[in-house]
Amino acid sequence: MLNYLTLIFSCQLAGELARVTLDLPIPGPVLGMVLLFFFLVFKGGIPEQLSAVTGGLLNHLSLLFVPAGVGIMLHFKLLGSDWIAISIALVASTVLTIIVTAAMMTYLTRGSSASDQTEE
């Protein structure tokens, strides 16, 4: 268990180092995700204890955004006089992006397996 936690931290650290030294526009943890992915490809499977560690982290992924989210209390003033324009642009562009991306993917993969369709 502990060695897989060490592996995850090492991937993140290597990702951070790569980002800083190569001045990449991708965050360290995302590079760490790529590294861990290559480790799995190399290993040819997911060790059971690794999936136990990552399951613990991913099952409550939403929780991890709460401290950063509370940070908005510091910056509400920044929204300033533009807040109406910001709110409308933010909501409308987010909804539009979701529809366009999903419609594009649905269109490009039409005809392939329909087994992934489900009601939510």
Binding site: I8, F9, Q12, P25, I26, P27, P29, V30, M33, V34, F39, I46, T54, L57, L58, L61, S62, L63, L64, F65, V66, P67, A68, G69, V70, G71, I72, M73, L74, H75, F76, L78, L79, D82, A85, I86, A89, L90, V91, A92, S93, T94, V95, L96, I98, I99, V100, T101, A102, M104, M105, T106, L108, T109, S112, D116, Q117, T118, E119, E120
Partner: protein, 238 residues
């Protein structure tokens, strides 16, 4: 009464109080979410954030004091992001089979996010500072802040907009996807990850592993696409 104040002074200086507050508020959010039949509008992150902001404002607690405790939760975001390699690996056959469709969808989504935010913001008369901060808001926070800084904007404003975009996407995404009858898990995951980064991915992962894996992938690739495309787009416009 003095005793009580001593207890408060002691507790508020220890990380335990705000760490516990974070967990309790999130559990409360989850409880409400479950009680409303998982209504996307009752997003647990939103409920937790609003509850905690309210409590901090009422007790006059500075954000920094809160974060001293909550940073232990915040820290886990990095390792959790690395862990997204596991669902991605499990679904890799599906990813490989539709690699072109995935790339095309994410790039289209990325351009839509930037162009729509800039276009709507501009039409409504937002200032240039606001527009720079709005454009990369669908991208995960560290990258979005870096892009804004590079373009000469306010990274702290971007951070707020990134979080709000994440919550908006997680709340409204499933509703609009249902309205437009976009039921494919791969497409839903890509859409949430592209439009609302990690918060969208967290939401997708809760519902379906395929959606979660595609969402994590989209989050990473959209960060890359936006970092490359936005400075180009910005120069074309201004």
């Amino acid at each position: 009464m003095d005793d009580l104040r001593d207890v408060w002074v002691y507790l508020s200086a220890s990380p335990l109080l705000h760490l516990t507050l974070t967990l309790v508020a999130f559990q409360a959010g989850n409880w409400i979410y479950d009680r409303t039949d998982r209504n996307p509008l009752c997003n647990p992150v939103l409920i937790a954030v609003l509850t905690i902001v309210g409590i901090l404002l009422i007790t006059g607690t500075p954000y920094q004091d809160y974060f001293d405790g909550a940073q232990f939760v915040h820290f886990l975001l990095g390792p959790a992001t690395v862990s997204l390699a596991i669902p991605l690996y499990r679904q890799f056959d599906k990813v490989r089979r539709s690699a072109f469709a995935i790339l095309a969808s994410i790039i289209t989504g990325s351009i839509t996010a930037m162009a729509a935010a800039l276009g709507i913001g501009y039409a409504l008369g937002a200032s240039k500072d606001t527009l720079i901060a709005l454009a990369p808001k669908s991208v995960t926070a560290p990258v979005a802040m870096g892009i804004t800084e590079q373009l000469g904007g306010l990274p702290s404003l971007t951070a707020v907009l990134v979080i709000l975009t994440g919550i908006t996407g997680a709340m409204l995404g499933p509703i609009v996807l249902n309205i437009f009858r976009l039921k494919n898990w791969q497409a839903r995951g890509l859409a949430l990850g592209t439009a609302s980064h990690g918060i969208g991915t967290a939401r997708a992962l809760q519902v379906n592993e395929v959606a979660g894996a595609f969402s994590g992938l989209a989050m990473g690739l959209n960060a890359l696409a936006t970092a490359i495309l936005l400075p180009i787009l910005w120069q074309l416009i201004f």
